[in-house]
Structures are given as C-alpha cells and as structure tokens.
C-alpha cells in the first residue's frame, strides 16, 4: 500500500500546486482525476522522485519515497505525461538501455524480458525500427513497456491516453488492465473521466492542489442514485434553468439543449426525467462546486 501524508508544494513562481495532500492507495488501478492545472502532474513527479515536496512524506513497502530515492526508483515504473525517446535508436536498443539502467544485466534474461515486453505491447514487428518514425500510439506503448521493466511495484502513468486515437486508446486500456493484475499499485493520472470509470477500482479527485475526495467509482455513482435528471429544452431556456438548478452538463444540438442536473430526490421541474447516474455526473458536480472559503 502507498501512503501519502501532508504533501505540500509551492513553486518558486508562487503557484501553490499541492496543499496538504493525504492519500492511501491499495494495489490495483488507482485513478487520479482532475482538471488541467489541478496538481496531478506535480503529485506524480514527486512520487516519481523527480520533484521535492516542500513538506510531507510518502511510504510504500517500508520505503520512504522522498528520502530513499534510489530505493524508490528500484520499484518504480514511470510513464510521464510528455516524454520523448532518442529518435535515432531502435525500439530494441531503447528497451535494452532502460533494462540495463534498471539493473537487468544478464544478457539472456534481458533478451527474454525485452522479447516478452514487445509481445505484450504488440510492437514485435517494429522492434528494429528507429523510434523517431513511431506513431504516437506506438511511442506510448513503448513508453509503457519501459515502465514495466523489472516487476515494478509502483507504476505511475500520467495522462497516458491524451492524444491517442480511439483504437490506440482501447489497446492502451487493455495494457493497463493487464498490468494492474500484477499486484502492483498503478496510479493513472488523467482528466478523462471515462478512463477512470473504465479501468480503476479506486479513485481520487484533485482540484487546485487539494484532494476533494478519495472513493471507489461505484460508491461515487451510488451517491447520486435518484439525484440525476435529464431534459431536452429549447436553447433559450438554458440560462434560466442554469440559474435555478445545479446543471452538471449541457449539450447543444440543433436548436435544443440537453441538460443534466442534480437534485436530491426531487424532480427539478416538469421537463426533467430521471436519468441513470454516471461517473461524469459525480466528477463535474464535484469540481464545479464553489471553492470553500479559506
């Protein structure tokens, strides 16, 4: 289990990226949801030993992540939000390099591991190509392959599906779900609610450097049972309805607008019909709430 206590981080520019972050993460896939600029990447970088928090601690399997950086790196698999590769090296040379850096020195073992990794990420046919010619999806899969080297117990993937086409995204989901089955803690940082909804057994929502909630997706949806309502109304009514009700989402099509609102147990008005709650409702309801004073 990964335990994070009282992480606080303010950048030299004065931006306070994290405020008293406390989290407990069990093995399995953990989704960290939040809008852009919420502090997800800062938290991921701290856990990946690339950034120092101003205060706070993190512990996993008896290792203090902030203090024992070498120990942390030994059990870490990290796929950053934005990363590149040496364009002139082949995929095979790249994986061998990372395997050596991770301490896999036996030639036969390393070759077997690299073969298996290429199989798992379905890049065997491209292993001898220079990575400079890879598509975004292929690069991302090579990225997850390097993160899986050496049975990492803590895997951090930061916004891994951003920019991938739908087919690549499915493929990446498959990869992540297979990885999560290996008893590791997998932290998936994303702003795509559907990714967390699909993949994660636990989740937390972060906004403006604060953890708003830590919950399971099912619990989140259960909290909104009988509270979500949907209506299709003329566009001109939207402003009035938004001022009266807690609208979580609206979508325009033709001259109409489709609204989803949250109203606990009471039908907001005649136009609205009950709707099945989804994780997006919970997320938008949470992040759109007014920031608490102080």
């Amino acid at each position: 289990m990964l335990t994070i206590k009282a992480f606080d981080k303010t950048y030299p520019s004065g931006v306070r990226a994290l405020r008293e972050i406390d989290l407990m993460v069990n093995p399995g896939m953990f989704g960290l949801l939040g809008p852009n600029g919420a502090g997800k990447t800062t938290l991921m970088k701290i856990l990946a030993t690339l950034l120092e928090p101003d205060s706070g601690s993190a512990e996993m399997n008896g290792i203090e992540l902030i203090v024992d950086k070498h120990g942390t790196r030994k059990m870490l698999g990290y796929l950053p939000q934005e990363f590149g590769l040496y364009p002139t090296l082949t995929a095979e040379q790249t994986l061998h390099y990372f395997a050596k850096l991770k301490g896999v020195h036996d030639k036969k073992e390393r070759a077997a591991l690299v073969d298996a990794l290429f199989d798992r990420v379905n890049l065997t046919d491209a292993r001898r190509q220079r990575v400079g010619g890879f598509s975004g999806g292929m690069r991302q899969r090579l990225g997850i392959a390097q993160a899986l080297i050496g049975q990492p117990q803590l895997i951090i993937v930061d916004e891994p599906t951003a920019g991938l086409d739908p087919e690549e995204r499915i493929r990446f989901h498959n990869l992540l779900s297979e990885t999560a089955g290996d008893d590791a803690v997998v932290i998936l940082s994303t702003h795509i609610v559907a990714d967390v909804s699909s993949l994660c057994s636990q989740m937390a929502v972060i906004r403006k450097g604060r953890i708003l909630t830590s919950i399971t997706p099912q619990q989140a949806i259960d909290q909104l049972r009988h509270s979500v309502w949907e209506a299709t109304v003329p566009r001109e009514q939207v402003v009035a309805l938004k001022s009266r009700h807690q609208v979580v989402s609206s979508q325009m099509f033709g001259g109409l607008a489709r609204l989803r609102v949250i109203a606990k147990g009471v039908r907001p008005s005649e136009e609205f019909n009950p709707a099945t709650p989804v994780l997006e409702d919970y997320y938008f309801d949470l992040v759109n709430q007014r920031e608490p004073a102080g």
Partner: protein, 602 residues
C-alpha cells in the same frame, strides 16, 4: 511599392533567418571565424614583416585564403538541409497549401540561409575591423578603414561561396539527403586541388583566373618592397570582374535548374514500412467515445483477453555496488556513442579540425629543432588545442542537454541509476570524441611526415607530446565544460561563458599575464625540449594539478546535479554517493593546492 519582406519570398527569407538565429551552429561558426580573425591579425602572415594589417593589399590578399581554408565545410553544413528539414519535420503540407510559388519558396530558403552563412563569415572581417582600435606590438596598422573590408569581403568571400552554396543547396534539395551534401563538403578540398592541378594548371593564365571560383590564381606581388605594398590600392581588373560574373552566372544557372526540377510531392520511401505494420491484434472492437450526456453509465471496462496475456519473465536486478554501476555506465556510454555517431555535424567538424590541424605540417617546412617528429607533434598539438576546446564545449553542451531537449529526461531520471553514471557517461563520451580527434590528427601527421620524407618517424615524440600536453588538457576542458553545464543549466549560456572565458584567457596570456597556475592547457608555456629535459618535472606536476582540478570539477558537478539522489552520507549502512564524492573532492582539492603551491614556489 510593396514591402519586399511582406512578399512570400521575404517571409520565407525572414523565417529562415529566424530559425537559424535559434540554432547554435551560426554562432559557433561566427565565433570560430572571429577567433580565426584574431589569430590572423595578431599572429598572421603580415605580423612582424612591417606589412600594415589593414592595408588594401593585406585585406585583399588574406580574404581569398580565408575563404578557401575555413569556410567551404560550413557552406555545406548550412546549405545541406533547409528544404529537406521541412519535409522531415512534416511542415511541408502546411507551407505548400499556402499561396506561394516554388520560386519564392526555393529562393527564400536559399537566400535566407546564405544570408546567415555570409553573416557568420563576416565575423572574420568584423573582428579585423574592430581590432584596428587595439594596437598590438609587432602589428603595423594604417588609418582606420571601413570600405576595403566590405568591398573585398563581398568580392572575395561572398561571391565565391555563392556558387558553392548554390551547388550544395541544389544537391540537398534534389536528393533530400543532407549526408550526401556533407560528403561533398568533406570532398571539397581533394576535388578542388585536383581541379587546380589537373585542369587549370594546363590552361593559359587568364583562363586559370576566369575559371577559378576561389580566385586563388591571382598574381603574386610579395617580392615588392613593404612600403610599396602598404600603399597599394587593389583595383579589380577585367579578368577578375569576368571571373566574378562567371561565378554569379553559374550560381544563377544552378538555381534555375533547381527551380525547374524541384517538386513538392512526397517521395516514396521508408515511411511505407509503417503502413504495413500490423497493429490491430490488441483491439477487440470499435471504440465509441461517449459524449458527456450519454456516457458509459459506469460500466466497467472489460479487457480484451482474446489474445493470450504475455507473462513477463522474472529477472534478477542489481542496482547497487561498483559492478552494477560500472555496467550501467557502460550501457549509458554505449548509448552516448550511438547518439554521437548519428550526429551529422561530426563529419564536418572532425574533418575541418583534422585538416586545419595538419595544414602547416602538410604544406610548410617546419623547423626541426630536436627532430622532425618533435616538430610535427608540437605543431599539430598547438593547432589542435583550439579545436579541442571548441569541440569539447559544443559536444558536451549537446550531450548534457540532449535528454531535456528530446524529453526523455523524466524517464531516465526515474530509473535507479546513480547520478555518477549519468554524468560520467557524458564526460567519457565527450572525452573519447576529442581523444579520437587527437589520434586521427596524430596518425595523419605521422603519415604526412613519412610522405614528405622527414624521417625517421619517431612515434615516441607524438606519444609524449599528446599524452603530456593534450590529454590532461582535454580532461580538464571536458570536466570544466561539464560543471559549467550543470551549474548554469542552460546550454547557450554555457557556450557563451565557455567561449568568453577561453577567449579572455587567451587574450590575457598573449598580453603576458601567463602563469602556470591559471593556464591549465599550458598555452604558450612549453616547448618540446621541456618535455624531456629538466623542465619535465614541473610540467608533470602541472599536469597533475590540471587533472586534480578536473576531478574537483566532476565532484562539484555530481554534488550540484539537478537530479536529486538519496540523502545522507551513509545509505543502507554504506557510504553513499555524496560521501564518496566528498572524499574524492577533498583528496583532489588537497592535490590541487599542493601542486599549485609548488607551481607558485617554483
């Protein structure tokens, strides 16, 4: 009248200048040219002969030689890939979908890059122009001059390189392969010398002049009196004007051919390999990205297990201990070498450095005080030092910031390798590169010595000179460059500081402020006799001082490296990296102080 910079041609021209202004190569070239100018000013052919360094005769005489000796390789480097770069980076459809003509595109690219090239070349004359204000003993100057610099630069340098640039550019555009142009650039000297000796030497003098793009066959008036030469006003005769017109005409023809043959269509190539790659096995069906309003209703994603899950084999990992760190270092070093080998500029820079370092021993008679080998080794070692400094600064900067630039840094920094592995791999790769240049120059010099009949070839002389003088200097410069890059954290700032410091120190040394304590490369402080005679002890102690300083720099770089490592002097019951670095730093500091005190005392 329409502003020319608002035409498509002007826009492309300006954009090329802007792109080049963000590259290091133009500045590097300008600095080399300026350094070259400084050397030719203070220690060139006019020095000590009474010839006025800013006389019309000297300027017009030196510029064709300067243009021939140092610049053709840079011309190849600059003109090789301005167009193929657009195709490589994939910006070509964005450009060609705009209303621009092929002529505007090709000419904008050509003249934009040629302008930058000419600006870099102009650093030489600019240096000469500025140096008129700084009198130096042994250098005769006349009244302050402006026009001859501009006039002769345009006639003897710019026009000569116009033809060469048009040729390299045309080859680069039509083949879309920069390496071919680099190859042609390297082949320039043998080809040109053959052209001179085989073809031009048999022609009448006027034809010789007309067909020589670098104007190397002009008449020689060096046998006249110095006063006469200082008063000479160089007038361009008809033959020279015809020559220059022919060169411009040929350039125009080349560009016209290029315009005719240039196409913007995609060429079939390796990209097709990506198209046949089978990537579909992982996907089980079509993906439907749910809109916010009708999402997946909280359904769990079910992984596609239609294919068998690939189990990863268990492996033994060792990341602690000297052996593990050495293996990691070798791995990192291997990658550094691979990346260096793919560095295209290496071919040009190495060739240029080798050629210029052996130039004197190849074409002039070097007085042999001790022996021919000693003279050859000493001469090449002194000439090579400047190139070694330039290469160290340039390639170390590239290596140190490469990870950040290609955005692989977070992945590498999250791996369990110690900082020493990351830093030493850069240090050793850069060191090996400069050492290979040293070996290349040494071997070439011995070969030239043998071919010129200056036998016997004594390898020991080369070994002693290079290992005692060059090797510790390279170690020092590489370590200094590494620590600068770590401390300043900005490549361009590190370049500027390194070159500024280098130039400043050379200036101080040449002004007589030259002491062993702050001259780690022994610039102007040794002769070959010192290496084997009584002075050898002092030189060896200085070399030890120099290496101790280098180790100290490495320790400082390790301690200040941006990537944080495990805190504490004792880690898991053992001395940690910081403790080892501290100890090593302490020892090297003691050695540096001890040897430094000896040098002051003696």
């Amino acid at each position: 009248m329409r502003n020319p910079f608002r035409t498509p041609f002007g826009t492309i021209f300006l954009n090329e200048v802007r792109i080049n202004s963000k590259r290091i190569a133009p500045y590097f070239m300008a600095l080399l040219c300026a350094g070259n100018g400084l050397l030719w000013w203070g220690w060139g052919p006019a020095t000590g002969r009474g010839l006025a360094i800013n006389s019309d005769f000297v300027i017009a005489g030196v510029l064709p030689v300067y243009s021939f000796l140092t610049l053709p390789l840079f011309t190849a480097l600059f003109m090789a890939d301005p167009v193929s770069r657009d195709f490589r980076t994939g910006i070509d459809p964005l450009i060609f979908s705009k209303p621009i003509s092929r002529a505007a595109y090709v000419l904008g690219k050509f003249f934009g890059n040629f302008f930058v090239l000419a600006c870099g070349q102009a650093a030489f004359v600019l240096t000469w122009f500025v140096l008129q204000a700084f009198p130096k003993a042994g250098v005769t100057t006349q009244n302050f001059k402006v026009v001859p610099y501009i006039k002769h630069f345009l006639v003897f340098v710019v026009i000569s390189h116009l033809l060469l640039a048009a040729f390299y550019f045309a080859v680069g555009v039509l083949t879309r392969n920069a390496k071919i142009v680099y190859g042609l650039g390297v082949a320039f000297y043998p080809v040109y010398i053959m052209y001179q000796t085989v073809l031009l030497s048999r022609l009448p003098w006027r034809w010789k002049l007309a067909l020589d793009p670098f104007v190397m066959n002009r008449g020689n008036v060096h046998d006249r009196r110095v006063e006469w030469m200082n008063q000479l006003v160089v007038v361009y005769d008809t033959d020279l004007i015809i020559n220059r017109v022919v060169v411009i005409l040929f350039s125009a023809i080349l560009l016209t051919i290029l315009y005719q043959r240039f196409t913007i269509s995609e060429r079939p190539g390796k990209a097709e390999q990506l198209l046949v790659l089978n990537l579909t096995a992982g996907a089980g069906g079509f993906y439907y990205d749910p809109p916010i309003i009708k999402p997946t209703l909280g359904e769990r994603f079910v992984a596609d297990h239609s294919h068998e899950k690939v189990l990863l084999p268990n492996v033994i990992r060792t990341t602690a201990g000297v052996r593990a760190h050495l293996r990691q270092l070798f791995a990192a070093l291997a990658v550094e070498f691979r990346l260096l080998l793919s560095e295209r500029s290496l071919v040009v820079i190495m060739s240029l450095a080798s050629f210029l370092s052996i130039l004197e021993v190849a074409f002039y008679n070097i007085p042999a005080d001790v022996s021919h080998s000693a003279a050859y080794a000493t001469n090449t070692a002194k000439l090579l030092l400047l190139f070694l400094l330039g290469m160290t600064v340039f390639y170390m900067g590239e290596a140190m910031h490469r990870e950040r630039e290609v955005r692989i840094q977070p992945v590498i920094w999250a791996a369990p390798g110690p900082n020493s592995v990351l830093l030493l791999s850069k240090f050793l790769a850069s060191l090996s590169l400069t050492l290979s240049l040293m070996v290349l120059v040494g071997l070439t010099a011995t070969l030239i010595q043998f071919l010129r009949g200056h036998t016997p070839v004594e390898l020991q002389a080369y070994l002693i000179t290079y290992s005692v003088i060059l090797l510790p200097s390279i170690v020092f410069m590489t370590a200094a460059s590494l620590v600068l890059n770590v401390l300043l954290r900005d490549k361009y700032l590190a370049y500027a500081v390194s070159i500024g410091t280098g130039v400043g120190l050379v200036y101080l040394y040449s002004q007589g402020h030259n002491h062993w304590l702050y001259n780690p490369v022994l610039y102007n402080l040794w002769t070959y006799s010192d290496l084997s005679g009584e002075g050898s002890g002092r030189i060896l102690i200085h070399r030890l001082y120099c290496v101790a300083l280098a180790v100290l720099f490495l320790v400082v770089a390790h301690l200040c490296f941006q990537r944080k490592s495990t805190r504490g002097l004792i880690v898991n019951g053992r001395l940690g990296g910081f403790a080892w670095a501290g100890l090593l730093g302490l020892v090297s500091l003691c050695i540096a102080i001890g040897t430094g005190m000896f040098l002051v005392g003696s």
